[in-house]
Amino acid sequence: MRVILRVEKLSKHYIIKSGAFSKRQVIRAVQEVSFQLVENQSLGLIGESGSGKSTVANLVLRLIKPSGGRIELFGEDITLMKEEEMRRYRNDIQIIFQYTNDVLDPQMTVDELLKEPLKIHGIVKDGELDQEVERLLEQVGLSPSERWKLPGQLSGGQNQRIIIARAIATRARLIVCDEPVSALDVSVQGQILNLLIRLKEELNLSYLFISHDIKVIRHMCDRIAVMKNGEIVEMGDVEDVLDNPQHEYTRKLIEAML
């Protein structure tokens, strides 16, 4: 199996000063985290808020600079890569955010929202843009009639499909899913999970899947990493870890499930 992403002893520290005369404080948001993700696999990241899940995601996407450690994407070291160089990879690695009202520009139509990533990354020729938008809509299960609508005219589930379509538009191979269903309702959650699983197979995607919901992680992921205070405290196959947790914190998370 081909390794898509390899992360070694990755750390991110923030230095804060609460006042002019106060002592410097170091916040260790992520501490020496290591994991790897192979082709067509999904790795779930679970842990309480503030445990560093999203910081890991931002580091992997190189939206922020690591303080230490190493990130390899498709075998190439991107740890300290400059933004101009990084741009070559931007289309390969995408993120699906949790749906809230401010993820999509409310003034842009679905058509414009889907053309934007296609144009930025030069995915298709200008003459093929319309056809490509139609194809993307179909691929994420939206009807062609939604194309001229604004996000405000669509339901939460439909907007989440648009967010997903934008991520796959660039032919991404690795997608970071940051709580993609937690804002959605039970009846819609399943639709999106089914879609993500179908796309993973159709497009041979790998997911780094962040969620606080153990049920969702169990359904979506092959492997799981449990984070606490910036560290991975337990990692393994999803069934092994959830059915037979070794770390006390993992047990606590499972017990707290309703």
Binding site: V186, S187, G190, I214, Y249
Partner: protein, 334 residues
């Protein structure tokens, strides 16, 4: 249906036990396309010490209806079209803003969804809590504040009293929010997704806390949630909202074990599908209508597998079945 086995006490309700009775509440919002009704029929009746859940998709009207009970809907944004909310013999909807201010935070408290924004970052915890007491004309007593902090499970009250919210964790701040809400011993607490912004590992603790306070102080709780797990864990009774209407209501056991409305039935199948980790998730196709799409018909019509022509002849009436209520014409004939 196995309705005959259950002899519910709802018919012989003790009037003294009744705390709140909301009937036929309708709320509209103004928009550039004119006024849109987002709550089209909301009724709730609560006894002392009872915990009632309101479950629904986002946009179903659960927050608007419950915040309208104490008129928290901004008058420049929307209006209450009709209804009454009788709380201890007075109609809250007819009270002046001045009287309502006295009731809010005193007799009825409200925990907002994004509660971290409800604490002032500039004031120490003790001062903030003291202000609540002062606002409601009560004696500002440090002992009382410390006792309340202890009641919400904050052991180190004396230290926390002098701290700022940013020095505390999310879970601690959530507890302080609850402390703020119960400081004046309210008879009714409305909690809007009180655990959605905190960690899964803390969720149970906060719910236990609410349950405990409710029992100890005979405080009634309305909890708004979209999570069946939360509802099952906490509630005595459950109401399911959809497209601005209460579609079904019953005890939590009835609702989970023998749901009547096709929407509730489907919703439970969806939740079960995830819990049992089915290969493919069971889903309800389509999406709920937005307020602009509301029509005079059953709002679930387009997604319902049991639909028939008659479902489109007006919004289905509320049907009372041994204390359970359901809005579906399939039960009309019985």
């Amino acid at each position: 249906m196995d309705g005959e086995g259950k002899v519910e006490i709802s018919g012989a309700e003790n009037m003294e036990d009744k705390l709140l009775d909301v009937r036929d509440l309708k709320v509209s919002f103004y928009s550039d396309k004119g006024s849109v009704q987002v709550v089209r029929g909301f009724d709730i009746s609560m006894k002392k010490g009872e915990i009632v859940g309101i479950l629904g998709e986002s946009g179903s009207g659960k927050t608007v209806s419950s915040s309208s009970i104490i008129k928290l809907v901004d008058e420049s944004l929307g209006s209450i079209d009709s209804g009454e909310a009788i709380f201890k013999g007075r109609d809250l909807l007819k009270l002046s803003e001045k009287d309502l201010k006295r009731i809010r935070g005193d007799e009825i408290s409200y925990i907002f969804q994004n509660s971290s924004a409800a604490l002032s970052p500039y004031k120490r915890i003790g001062k903030q809590l003291g202000e609540v007491l002062k606002t409601h004309g009560r004696v500002v007593s440090k002992e009382h504040i410390l006792r309340t902090l202890e009641e919400v499970g904050l052991e180190d009250g004396e230290r926390i009293y002098h701290m700022y919210p940013f020095q505390l964790s999310g879970g601690q701040n959530q507890r302080i929010m609850i402390a703020q809400c119960i400081l004046c011993s309210p008879e009714l607490l409305i909690a809007d997704e009180p655990t959605s912004s905190i960690d899964a590992s803390l969720q149970k603790t906060i719910l236990d806390l609410l349950k405990d306070i409710s029992m100890r102080n005979k405080m009634s709780v309305i909890i708004i949630t979209h999570d069946f797990g939360v509802a099952r864990y906490l509630c005595d009774r459950l109401m399911v909202m959809y497209a601005g209407l209460v579609l079904e209501e019953g005890t939590i056991e009835e609702m989970l074990n023998s749901p009547l409305h096709p929407y509730t039935q489907e919703l439970i199948r969806c939740a079960r599908s995830l819990a049992e980790d089915d290969e493919t998730m069971y889903t309800i196709e389509g999406a709920p209508p937005t307020p602009y799409q509301f029509r005079d018909e059953c709002p679930f019509y387009s997604r319902c597998s049991l639909r028939e022509g008659a479902c489109r002849e007006g919004i289905p009436q509320k049907i009372d079945l041994d204390g359970r209520r359901v809005r579906c014409i399939r039960y009309e004939k019985r």
